[in-house]
């Protein structure tokens, strides 16, 4: 645990101690700010039956930030260490691959949580001004933030996997963006394309992140998508672990 804490502290230091981290935070905050302004503007001018969190989830800002921020946060994790050679001193210290992997994953997830936190703080602040729980309610804010963390965990694990595959941060970013986009497109199919009744549409509905996000933004927590997200996250973490071990295969 001591080693894990040391590694995690280092990872957080990398996120907040270098310019890249602040550039990502600034870009995300800018988009979040614009998004929030847009949502408040729409609440003032258009009649709607959706809650603020639901509107936020349906805005393209949400998916844009999610799809871009995860590869940007994670592309550095392993690829940078490999390209600079520090991976060799890290992996010859008395640490195991899982400690290294989990520290990088947790560090990136913490950074992801920090990026999204201002959105939900803004929503909570708005709650003080709008005393209508049909528009803004605290439960749906909390469940939406929880969903953002869960979906984020999956995207971060995909990013770690992409980064472990290569020495190039650009290639790592491209791999994780492509995989993330693929999962997003499955969700879009379910949401916006009317699916034909059949086994494929049934499977798509089961793996749809968009469905899960929509439920959470309404304050509903369903255990099935939660289990899907947790197992998918662990699948990508497991694959990353295998990639890390690959150098030691005979």
């Amino acid at each position: 645990m001591k080693v894990f804490k040391t590694l995690l502290r280092r990872e957080l230091g990398v996120c907040f101690g270098v310019l890249n981290g602040y550039v990502i935070v600034s870009a995300a905050l800018f988009l979040v700010g614009v998004c929030f302004y847009d949502l408040v503007y729409r609440l003032n001018n258009q009649p709607t039956d959706m809650t603020l969190t639901e509107m936020f989830f349906f805005s393209w800002y949400f998916w844009l930030i999610l799809l871009l921020s995860a590869p940007l946060i994670t592309m550095r994790t392993f690829a940078h260490e490999k390209s600079t050679g520090t991976y060799e001193i890290l992996m010859t210290a008395p640490v195991n691959d899982i400690q290294v992997l989990m520290s990088k994953f947790c560090g990136a997830l913490f950074f992801h949580a920090i990026i999204w936190l201002p959105v939900f703080i803004s929503m909570l602040l708005l709650r003080f001004y709008i005393n209508n729980p049909l528009v803004v309610n605290i439960t749906s804010i909390i469940t939406t933030y929880f969903a953002v963390l869960m979906v984020g965990a999956l995207y971060i694990s995909i990013g770690c996997f992409g980064s472990a595959l290569t020495r190039s941060q650009i290639v790592a970013g491209m791999v994780s963006f492509t995989l993330g986009m693929g999962i997003f497109m499955l969700s879009v199919n379910v949401l916006f394309v009317v699916p034909d009744p059949g086994p494929i549409s049934l499977i798509l509905a089961k793996v749809s992140l968009a469905d899960y996000m929509r439920d959470c933004s309404r304050g509903i927590l369903d255990s099935r998508p939660f289990i899907f997200l947790v197992t998918s996250t662990f699948l990508f973490l497991f694959l990353t672990w295998r990639v890390l071990e690959w150098r030691r295969w005979r």
Partner: protein, 327 residues
């Protein structure tokens, strides 16, 4: 751990590493005693770094076994890592950290508690002369200082085995001398494995040398013995003032002399270049007696043994010739 591990720090048997069709190292067998300083010598691409990477547990060998302090580098890699300090080739470091902060971080990773890592960081900074730059970012340091940070990192946890891949690369002559002295001082207390293609460095630092070429061991012995068993002659240069014919006659009958070359030197002296076989002990005393016996004059008498460089060139050329013959 068996009795063997008490004597041997490293035991390598049939170690082979292949990258596809390319064999980086081929069937290496060697042992290193505890407290010994062993130099891995070889040209670029000889397989030195691959060997060190396997011993440091970073890479797995394709076949064969390697043990460090009695622990298998593949099956018990965690135990091995606790016992080694490794400085890889090109000395990778976290450039975004300060020197003291980096050493404390590495100490924590190596299992030291907060106080120990602080104390050890202070000690190794003193040993490696890093106190002036302790608060500097590593990226701002010169190459020489960075090398010393890498060396300090390897010494941090007082490991039983210190593995250094090209440790003096980029150091200026004074720093090279200091690093060499530091490494020499480590011998006895720690086992040190150094890789280098700088022959002089290995000759000055190591008790024993392992010469690698194209992934194979060409020779493994202590540096002085290696020079003598290679069958290369020692060479004595003498400047003698004597009648030429008498000088030629006396030298012709000199015991153990293989070849002689006499040329005129300044002021009636003759410059004699004498080659002796490896089995001949130092011939200078006898040479001096010969001059005194004949009432001649002597103004220079020096001996030169083949350097490690001569041995290295001799061995690699021999291997090349053998390969050409096979073809």
């Amino acid at each position: 751990m068996g009795d063997a591990s008490k004597e041997w720090m490293i035991e390598v048997k049939g170690l082979t590493k292949r990258y596809g069709d390319f064999e980086a190292i081929s069937n290496l067998n060697f042992t290193v005693k505890r407290g010994e300083i062993l130099g891995l010598l070889g040209p670029n691409g000889a397989g030195k770094s691959t060997t060190l990477r396997i011993l440091s547990t970073f890479l797995a060998a394709t076949s064969g076994t390697a043990k460090v302090a009695g622990f298998d580098v593949f099956d018990e890699s965690h135990e091995v890592r606790k016992r080694i300090g490794y400085m890889p080739e090109n000395n990778p470091l976290y450039y975004d950290m300060r020197v003291y902060e980096y050493l404390k971080y590495r100490g924590r990773l190596k299992g030291l508690d907060a106080r120990q890592s602080r104390d050890r960081a202070e000690t190794v900074m003193k040993e490696c002369d890093l106190e002036d730059v302790r608060r500097k970012m590593i990226r701002q340091l010169s190459l020489g200082y960075r090398q010393r940070v890498g060396l300090a990192d390897a010494l941090l946890s007082e490991p039983e085995l210190i593995i250094l891949d090209e440790p003096t690369l980029g150091l200026d002559p004074n720093q090279v001398r200091a690093a060499r002295q530091l490494i020499k001082n480590l011998g006895g207390k720690h086992t040190v494995l150094i890789s280098s293609h700088i022959l002089h460095e290995i000759e000055m630092t190591c008790n024993r040398v392992l010469i690698l070429n194209q992934g194979k061991i060409l020779a493994s012995d202590d540096t002085t013995h290696l020079q003598s068993v290679m069958g290369q002659s020692s060479r004595v240069v003498a400047e003698i003032k004597a009648p030429l014919e008498d000088l030629k006659f006396s030298l012709k009958n000199f015991e153990g002399l293989l070849a002689v070359d006499i040329s005129a030197a300044e002021g009636d002296y003759y410059l004699c270049s004498l080659s002796f076989g490896a089995e001949t002990a130092d011939p200078r005393e006898e040479l001096y007696k010969m001059v005194v016996r004949n009432n001649w004059f002597l103004r220079e008498l020096t001996i030169s043994r083949p350097s490690l460089e001569d041995v290295f060139v001799h061995l690699t050329r021999k291997q090349q010739d053998e390969e050409e013959d096979e073809e």
